[in-house]
Every structure is written in C-alpha cells, then in structure tokens.
C-alpha cells in the first residue's frame, strides 16, 4: 500500500513543474495575444493552483490515513462519526473560496461581453465545411476553405507543418483595433474558435451572435471549428492574419480592386465561350475543392447520406434543372447554394465536369452565360 501512496504522490508532484514549465509548450492553455486572453489565462492558472492546493490537502490527509491508520499496524479504529463544528467549517470555507473565484471571473466575463464601439465588424458565417467572412463596412467578402491537400490526409503525401490548420484565404484583421465578430451559420451549428484570442462563439443558423477581440501583436493565428457539424467537422480550420492598421487598409483596398476586376472579367466572359478542355480541366479542380467532400471524388456519393452524381438523372437529364440546383441548393438537405461561393466561370466549369465525368458523357457544355441566364431568370 505504501507503494500506492508513493506512486500517487509522485504522480501529483510530477505534475506541478510540468504545468509551470508548460507555459511555452503546447501542454497548457495559450496566453494568447489579447488582453482578454491573458486575463482568461490568469484566471485559468489561479483556479488551477487553488484546485492543486485543495487537492494536496485533501489527498494528503487521505494518504496519511492510508499509511498510518492501517489495521496491519494494529490500530484500534476510532468510533467518532460526526462533528457539527468541522462540518460547518468545511461547508463555509469552500463557499468563501468560491466567492473569491467568482469575483474575478465576473469581471472578465463582463468585459468579454461588451461588444460596443467596435472599429471593424466582420460577419462570420459557417457552413458545411467552410467559413465565410464579410467585412460589413467595406463590402468585401470571401470564403475560406481548408488548404491541406487530400493526399496528405490520406497519408499519400508527407504531412507539412500546418497540417489541417491552413486555409486558402485567411481572415485578415488590423492590430490594436476593436474587432467585432457577428457569427451565424447557413446550415448546422458551427463554432468559431481562435485560442489566441480566447474567442469561441457558436454560429447558429438563423441567429446572430456577437464576440470581439483586440489583437496586440501581428502574426498568424490558427483555430478550428469547435462544434460537431457533420462529416468534415475536423476539416474546417480558421486562420487569422493580424497586420498593422495601414497594411490592413492596403490589403483591403487591394482586395477590393481585385474583386472588382474579377467581376469585370466575368462580364467579358459572358460574351465568349470556353472550350470543352478548359471547362473540364477547371471543372475538375472546382469539383474536388467544393463538391467532393460530399459527392466524393468518384462521383458516387455516400450511400444513404449524400447522393451520387455518376449516372444520376440530375447530371445526365435536364440541363437547367442541374444548373438550378447547383446555384440555389436544395432546401431541407445539405446541398448548399453555390451562386455566391463560385464565380460564373467556376460554376459553368463544374457543371460541365459533372455532366461529362465518370462516364456521364453527355457531351454537353455549360458556358458562363448560361449560368448567368439561370441566375437572372430566378430574380
């Protein structure tokens, strides 16, 4: 039994230096890069140490008994079984400790809850399995998808540093400014979490939640969706790049110009036709990025969950029906509307691809102008 005692005390003892040393290693909570995240970290450590002290006292008394009050040592058991004084003592003392914990916790919470007077507002929309960011004051928006290649996930390629924590287009934010997040979702509940900001807020479909942060240091910060949201819940990371305000402004102006140019080019595209090869090549890329998570790379879907597109009446039948479902989605199912997620060119390419890949071979091409016509006819 002494063996037990030493083993367990050694276990608890070994823990303390581990945790203290853990400040820089990924064994403990991050201190983060905002005033709030540091407050949260302090609160976490304070409560942790209080628990350790209580634990050491309680388990200490217990192990004293285990070592010294053993029948094998010939002790006679005492017969006491109550003491009002002691019982009042160990009801009152924990109560006081709890009040001591509750006061700083309340202060930090009240601060976290105050989303007023923000400098920048970003609307964050979750959907299966990507994030969408919209800068409310600047009319700029884009989707942010996992950038880790499928081959790394399937162990066909060596995994790189930011495996599963990298995206194609990160959220860019200014440092030193109060950024307010408005969270919502297009389908199921997601949760937007960046540990370095101590921000975790659920994105609920049909409702808007608020959170805020003020980042102190420039850098790249990574997080993940924290609420089970279906098959690829583990594959919708968040990347935030924090920049000084001037750089952030420049980035925003640049992005606006780019997006305007892309729109203009798209208009030009309406007058032209793309070749089958162009459409198929681009379509495959788009399909793998936007569609394959559900419908699978081989177009066969997942039986009973996601319908297959190979030889399906949708992809070899009426072409307008096919375009409509891609641009508007299908209500009451996981099929999303892609009119805002993909450009006309990408939509045309991916629909063409779906109608000709995996032996569908309809030979039909869809041009950007066809897609544009269907979108306009719906309005």
């Amino acid at each position: 039994m002494l063996r037990t005692a030493t083993r367990l005390t050694a276990g608890v003892g070994a823990l303390l230096p581990l945790i203290t040393a853990a400040a820089e290693t990924p064994l403990n909570m991050t201190k983060g890069v905002t005033a709030v995240s540091q407050d949260v970290y302090q609160l976490h450590m304070t409560i942790f140490y209080i628990c350790c002290v209580i634990g050491l006292i309680v388990f200490g008394v217990m192990f004293w008994s285990i070592i010294h009050h053993r029948k094998s040592k010939g002790v006679k058991p005492a017969q006491f079984h109550e003491s009002t004084k002691v019982e009042i003592f160990w009801t009152a003392v924990p109560l006081l400790i709890l009040i001591g914990m509750a006061i700083p916790a309340t202060q930090v919470l009240m601060n976290m809850d105050d989303t007023s007077e923000a400098d920048v507002t970003v609307l964050v929309t979750g959907s299966q399995w990507k994030w969408h960011y919209k800068y409310i004051d600047d009319d700029v928006e884009y989707y942010s998808l996992l950038a880790t290649p499928r081959a790394e996930i399937e162990n066909k390629l060596a995994k790189t540093d930011n495996y599963l924590l990298e995206v194609d287009r990160p959220l860019v934010l200014p440092i030193g400014k109060k950024v307010r997040f408005l969270m919502t979702s297009d389908d199921v509940i997601h949760s937007w979490w960046v540990p370095e900001f101590a921000v975790k807020k659920d994105a609920n479909p049909g409702f808007i939640n608020e959170a805020w942060t003020r980042i102190d240091e420039p850098g790249t910060y990574r997080g993940q969706c924290a609420e089970l949201c279906g098959k690829d819940h583990g594959f919708m990371p968040i990347v935030v790049i924090a920049k000084p305000d001037t750089e952030y402004r420049a980035w925003l102006t640049n992005l606006k110009a780019e997006q305007a140019q892309a729109k203009a080019e798209e208009q030009k595209l309406l007058a032209m036709s793309m070749s089958m090869e162009e459409l198929m090549a681009e379509g495959e890329k788009v399909y793998l990025a936007a569609c394959a998570a559900c419908h699978q790379p081989n177009g066969e879907g997942l039986k009973g969950v996601f319908p297959g597109l190979k030889g399906s009446p949708l992809t070899i039948g009426d072409i307008n029906g096919h375009i409509d479902i891609v641009i508007h989605g299908k209500k009451g199912t996981a099929m999303q509307a892609f009119d805002k997620q993909l450009s006309l060119r990408e939509l045309a390419a991916v629909i063409t691809y779906e109608r000709n890949a995996w032996g569908n071979d309809t030979g039909q091409m869809v041009q950007p102008k066809d897609v544009d016509a269907r979108i306009k006819s719906a309005i």
Binding site: F48, K71, V75, A78, P94, L109, F207, A226, L228, L302
Partner: protein, 528 residues
C-alpha cells in the same frame, strides 16, 4: 431450450427459480432481474468499449487510416449512447434491484412484473440502435447530444430508429425508477426509519426522482427531433420560427440531472464500502443525505453551463456560473466526509476498498476540472475540447464505472456465495488504475493545447499525446477482460463466502446467508 424446462407447480415456484431460458424471461425475482441488468450492462460496456477502441485506433496517428469521418462520428455517437444508457445506468439499476430490497428488509421490489418488463425492453432498444449502424446511410452520427439541426435536417435516415430506441430506454428507466421509489417508500422493514436507510438506498431514492423528472424531457426532445425531421415541424428551425438553441436547453435540462443520475448511486456505493474497510461508521451520515439532496436540487439549475458559447445574455451566463460553482460545496462535503471516515480507522485494502479509494481521488480530480469548466470566461477556452472529454471521463469512468466495479467486488460474495480471486482482482485494479490514467490524464493537455473533441484527424502538434492516450485506451480495454474472467470464475466456484465476509460491513444484506437465498425477508426483520 424452453421445451426441456420442467413445468413447476405453484409450491415449488415459491421456493426456487424455474429452470432454463424461461427462468430469465419470465422472472419477477429482484435478484434474477438484478443479475440480468448487470450482465446486460457488462455486455454493453464491452460493445461500447469496442467502439472506443475504434476511435482510439483511428486517433493513434494523424491522417485517416482506418475509418472514414462519417463512420468515426457514428462511433463517437453510439459509444456515448451505449455507455450512458446501456452500461452505466443499467448497472446501477441492477445494483438497485439486487441490493435495495435486501438493504431495507423487503422480500422483493414493489412492482415485480413491471420490473421484468423494464429490463426486457432494453435489449430491444439497443439491438435497434446497433442495427441502425448497418442501415444505408449509417447510424446516428450527430453526437450523443444530438444537437439540432444536425440531428434533424442533416441527419441520416436511420434517425427514426435512434428516436425509437431512446424512447424505449427512457420508458425502461422511468419504470425502474418508479419501482425503486415505491419499494423504498412502502416496503421498509419495521424500524427502518428514513435516517437509518443505508446511503445507497438514499442516493438511489433521490436518483429515482431525478429520473422520473427528466426522462420525459428527453422523450420530448427526441420526439421534437422526430417531427422536425419527418413531419415538417420547425421546433428547432429558425426558418419556421423555431430555435436550434432551444434544443440544447431542452436536452441539457435532461442532460445535467442525467449526469447526477449516473453519479449519486456511486456516492451511495462508496459510502457503504469506505466505512466497511475502515471499520468505522460513516462520518456525517446526515450531512451526506442533505448533500445528496442539495446536489439533486441544484442539478436542475445549472443546465446551461453546457451552453456558455451559444450566446446567452450576460445575466444568464453569470447565473449558471454561480449555480454551477455552488455544486462544489455539497460535493466537497461528501469528499471530506469520506476522508474523515478513513481518518483514524483501521484500514484494509481488499479490492472493493481499492476501487473506492481510487474513486474518491479520481472523481475529485474530475470535480476539480468541473469547477474549472464552471468558470464561464475560461470555459470559452475549454468548451468542446479534449479538456471536457478528460473531465467527463474522470467522473464517469473513474467515478461511476469504478464505483460499479467496487460494488461488484463488495457484493459478489453475497451474490454468488463464493469469494472472488483476490489476486486476480488486485491485478484488475492496478491494470485499470494505471491504464485509465494514461488514457484520460493526458487528454487534459490535449484540450488545453487546443484540440477540439469529436474530430477524426488532428494537427501534428497533438500526435505524441494522442499516441500515449491510445495506448492507455487499449490497455484499459484489455484490463476489463480480467474482470470478466474473474466474475465468471467467481460465479462458477471458489472459497465459500460467509454470511458477512467483510469484517466491518454493516447492513441487513449481511444478515442473510451467502449466496443470498432466492427469497429473502419473506417475514420482515426488526430493525433497532
């Protein structure tokens, strides 16, 4: 099998069990039904455990190796459902069936036919749940908490089977709970006044009231999921005027008392074992009863601490934080009482005591992480990470499950009439204790370092710890086979057990011979 069973006349029926399959199918005997519950629970523990092994095998390395993410989600979901509703709850109901009548000096449970029925619908519920895994589209994959709209609009077609299975489990629990309440209220032996009840009886009485209060709420939640999915209602769909967060309120109004349903009887078990092996009366009996009742009442006021990130008003967050912190007070009282019971006792460490002591320490660690989780601003960092997974496995595995094992070792001589193999039991204990900590302790670090729960694949910085955790998991899983072997061995033979095999144990169950006769206390004992 039943065709070879001898028909028994009324006289014989009164004195011994029928034989063959019929004995078990038609039994109304509390001891038989207790054994059925316990064996069923152990079978489910192994099935749910096998699913945990699939989860840990997939998480052994980063990348997808064994299962696809959709199946992984089915494993986490069904593992949770089976362990909660199939392993822990039936095990406690089994213990209640066996022990409550013997502890209060009653001849049987008050409603024996309902007792039979409440057990026998369970295998159907779990067969249906397991069957759903093999349907097209797979079984439930939305987590055991089945948050809408993931469980409604976006769920597989087998959701109806899940709903029906949960309904049956709920009906079984409610019937079991009613039986416990009626038995304890009406069938105590003369002189067995309320404040003389063994704590196991007290904790189960309070648990039964919790069950009756919240299982209908769960039934309501699954019914709303059913109608939202199949009949076009919009309870949880904002587009139709509903609210997905309302689902979470309803679910956790059931879910939080549910976690106390799984731990209060454990308190009762430990409160029987620690005094027995300390050879000293339980310290603070009355305060134990009041603490249990306080925990039960508070359990109805804390549900939204599971939902701090859903976007509650500040007042709501503060209210639920304060109430949750308050639970630490009565829980602390219990732990202090157990330690005070051991203080200056004459301790020995047979296997039941080993498990009980491990329970007190490891459950307390789970309690500490629970207190940390109660602090709302910090919970934003812990929520939905492996820190939470570590927390609830400490309270449910090293808490509830360890107490069930302690109970089995403690009462096994009474049930079988044989002493279990002490060496094998010690081996089971030490293997379990070490592996369970290798399994769950490092999960705290994973969560703090930022690994979300319910993901089939993870970033590279989590790889080392996940590997350690998986090894602990496999070792813990294998250790339970020792337990299976030990129990079978003990049922089949062994050193004969005395009526009271433990020197310090107290209670009416030790006044009847071992094994306990098929019918006990047909005339009530006098309790002084």
């Amino acid at each position: 099998m039943s065709s070879v069973a001898e028909p028994v006349d009324g006289h014989e029926h009164h004195h011994g069990p029928a034989t063959g399959l019929k004995r078990w199918l038609f039994t109304t005997n509390h001891k038989d039904i207790g054994s059925l519950y316990l064996w069923f629970s152990f079978a489910m523990f192994l099935v749910g455990g096998a699913m945990a092994m699939v989860i840990r095998a997939e998480l052994f390395q980063p990348g997808l190796q064994l299962v696809d993410p959709n199946f992984f989600n089915q494993m986490t979901t069904v593992h949770g459902l089976i362990m909660v509703f199939g392993a822990v709850m039936p095990a406690f109901t089994g213990l209640a069936n066996w022990m409550i009548p013997m502890m209060i000096g009653a001849p049987d449970m008050a409603l024996p036919r309902m007792n039979n029925w409440s057990f026998w619908i369970l295998p159907f519920a779990f067969s249906m749940l397991l069957f759903s895994l093999f349907t097209e589209g797979g079984g439930p994959n939305f987590g055991w908490t089945f948050y809408a709209p993931l469980s409604t609009t976006y769920s597989p077609e087998s959701t109806a089977l899940f709903v029906f299975a949960v309904h049956i489990m709920g009906i079984s629990s409610i019937m079991g709970a009613i039986n416990v309440v009626v038995t304890i209220v009406n069938m105590r032996a003369p002189g067995m006044t309320w404040m003389k009840l063994p704590l196991f009886v007290w904790t189960w009485l309070i648990t039964a009231f919790l069950l009756i209060a919240v299982m209908p709420v769960l039934a309501g939640a699954v019914t709303m999921v059913l109608t939202d999915k199949y009949f076009g209602t919009s309870f949880f769909d904002a587009a139709g005027g509903g609210d997905p967060v309302m689902f979470q309120h309803i679910f956790w109004f059931f879910g939080h008392p549910e976690v106390y349903i799984m731990i209060l009887p454990a308190f009762g078990v430990v409160s029987a074992i620690i005094p027995a092996f300390s050879r000293k009366p339980l310290f603070g009996y009355a305060s134990m009863v009041y603490a249990t009742a306080s925990i039960a009442i508070l359990s109805f006021l804390v549900w939204a601490h599971h939902m701090f990130t859903t976007g509650m008003p500040l007042f709501g967050q503060l209210f639920f934080m304060y109430c949750t912190m308050l639970i630490a007070v009565p829980t602390g009282v219990k732990v202090f009482n157990w330690v005070a019971t051991m203080w200056r006792g004459a301790l020995t460490f047979e296997v039941p005591m080993l498990f009980a002591v491990a329970f007190v320490i490891l459950f307390t660690i789970g309690g500490f992480s629970g207190l940390m989780l109660a602090i709302t601003p910090v919970d934003f960092q812990y929520h939905d990470t492996y820190f939470v997974v570590a927390h609830f496995h400490y309270v449910l595995v090293t808490g509830a499950v360890f107490s069930i094992m302690a109970a089995v070792y403690y009462w096994l001589p009474k049930w079988t009439g044989h002493m279990y193999d002490e060496g094998l039991g010690k081996m089971h204990f030490w293997c379990s204790l070490i592996s369970v900590n290798v399994l769950f302790f490092p999960m705290h670090f994973l969560g703090l370092a930022g690994m979300p729960r319910r993901i089939p694949d993870y970033a590279l910085q989590f790889a080392d710890i996940n590997q350690i955790v998986s090894i602990g998991g496999f070792a813990f899983g294998l250790s339970q086979l020792i337990f299976l072997w030990l129990v079978i061995k003990c049922v089949r033979g062994g050193e004969a057990a005395a009526a009271k095999p433990w020197e310090g144990s107290e209670g009416l169950e030790w006044t009847v011979p071992s094994p306990a006769p098929y019918h006990t206390f047909t005339t009530p004992p006098e309790v002084k």
